[in-house]
Amino acid sequence: MSGPSTDSAAVAPAPRPGVTLRPARRGGLRPRVDGNPLEPYLYLLPHAVLFFVFIVYPVGFAIYVSLHRWNILSDNQPFVGAEFYTRLLTPGTPQFTFFWKTMGNTALFTVITTPLLIVCALGLALLLHKPIPGRSFFRAVFFLPTILSVSVMGLLWKWMFENRTGLVNVVLDMIPFTEPVAFLTTIGLAWIPIIVGTVWWTVGFNMILYSAALAAIPQAYYEAAAIDGAGAWAKFRYVTWPQLNPVTLFAAVTTTIASFQLFGQPHVMTAGGPLRTTQSVMMFVTEEAFTRFQFSSAAAMSLLFGVLLLVVTGFQFRLTLRDLGRGRA
């Protein structure tokens, strides 16, 4: 959505459950009796042109590039067929090795962060659900990091976790029985700054989603549960949690999609190190394209990755469609 390509359609926010997508009823439309019959198309034209140039055409172009050996300095782009795809599926090629390695890294990040972002967001929303002095202040504080850019967030947390001089290690040094840890350069531990930073940075959004959903649960349900003798946990388990299901599903899907497109955090904090253990697929694709100028290989990778992502976005789309079908969630 933000400018350009990478973000555009992919991260396009999915309508969340509860959104009405129902097309306006035909019968209700004003019958056109006057005006130019082309009028609606003229309104649509500017968007349609841009839509074709920057969304439809690029998809075809990406496929075309991936089937050639693209050299931006040459006028002659030899056709190589599916070569770059077979490389991605043939063990031993550099593309295979690093594409799937970074894919594994990305999956690891997603599997850890998505539940964390759901649980922490729900926790914060629950803490803030009942009135408490300073509630709007707390909410603003937890939401605040989400407005920062990934570079600011990355530099901040890199400095927090810096091997010797970072605040985290300064504190670890002061606490008895703990010692400074080289987070950023130790295999495995390098994920900690990335994950902590990501949770700090994005938890506020899911928190807001949950706050809204919590407030929407009819009080009567709790009263009924209370009459049945339900305790706090039972109320949460049998009233709150099921009522939050649509939001949880929505948050899980959008967070998963976002996590799979991980780029900025490791790019700023670890540069993918140590030993490419924190390099994400997006980082590898950009390395292939912009450092090694292998645009065709990069296009093939992004298409393959895109298709894999489609499984998730398709699921998200179905959620949207379901709402559409029902007219109302």
């Binding site: 019958p31 600011v152 489609l310």
Partner: protein, 308 residues
Amino acid sequence: MSARAPTYRSTTVASGPAARTAAAVRTRVERRENRPRWRDAPRFVLLSVLAVLFLAPIYWMVTTSLKSEADTVARPVQWWPAEPTLENYRTILESPNAPFARWTFNSLFTSLAFALGSVALAVMTAYPLSRMRFRGRNFWFWVILASMMIPGIIFLIPHYLMMIDFGWVDTYHALIWPGLPAAFGVFLMRQFFISIPRELEEAARLDGANSMQVLWYVLLPFLVAPMATLGLFQFMASWNNYVWPLFVVHGEMQTLPVAITTFSSRYWTAYGKLMAGTAIASVPVLVAFLFAQRYFIRGMSLTGLKDE
């Protein structure tokens, strides 16, 4: 790309539940006692601890930026700068190839242009899709909607090669145009258009207004808040965009958030200067947040009110 973009945007579409929230919260607050109760104390303490943890990195950024380089790594650690100084800010602002003013302008200009363009385009497109009747209307709406499914990474390479062809590498064009036709704005504005009572439009039509006049005089006044909300979100999205500007613009054409990371490669062990740069880069969004916070909330409630 960030792990947060989608969730970020999704809030704009927060409709039903979100909408109900505002109202529900309000009534509930009114209904309940507002006085603090003692059994809330543990919760308050927990929230306070969390708030301190959440603010710690920002506190550390600000204090580090006010220390001399030697003090940033000094032991014992200085929780507050021993001798606060603005030297780091002066150094980087005067640095000949750290044109902070230019970078800020680039970010402001492209984000503003992108936000305005998105809103205008979304309004223009959503208008006929929601309030006119013509062949192919539903088909086209579905095509636009379906494009939301395409993962963004697919566009990176073709867009970049197109920018080379267009001669748009290192221009503002590259930062503004490619993202404009994204479906989100159209989808959102269409939701709002549908919510406006048709009777108003009928009346204007009877008075002989053409479609442009209807849009301008009748419909847009209802859409000021949603347009502001959409604009704000698009502004922030563009401002915080990272991957695309990282590769398509360079040097003095960079946007501020991207520039501070390339800038960081120069000052990478000079954390005082680095944090000063980071602070400068976050000020505009922080200010925007403080002033527009209510738009976030109002936008949310408005999104929901429509069909209730």
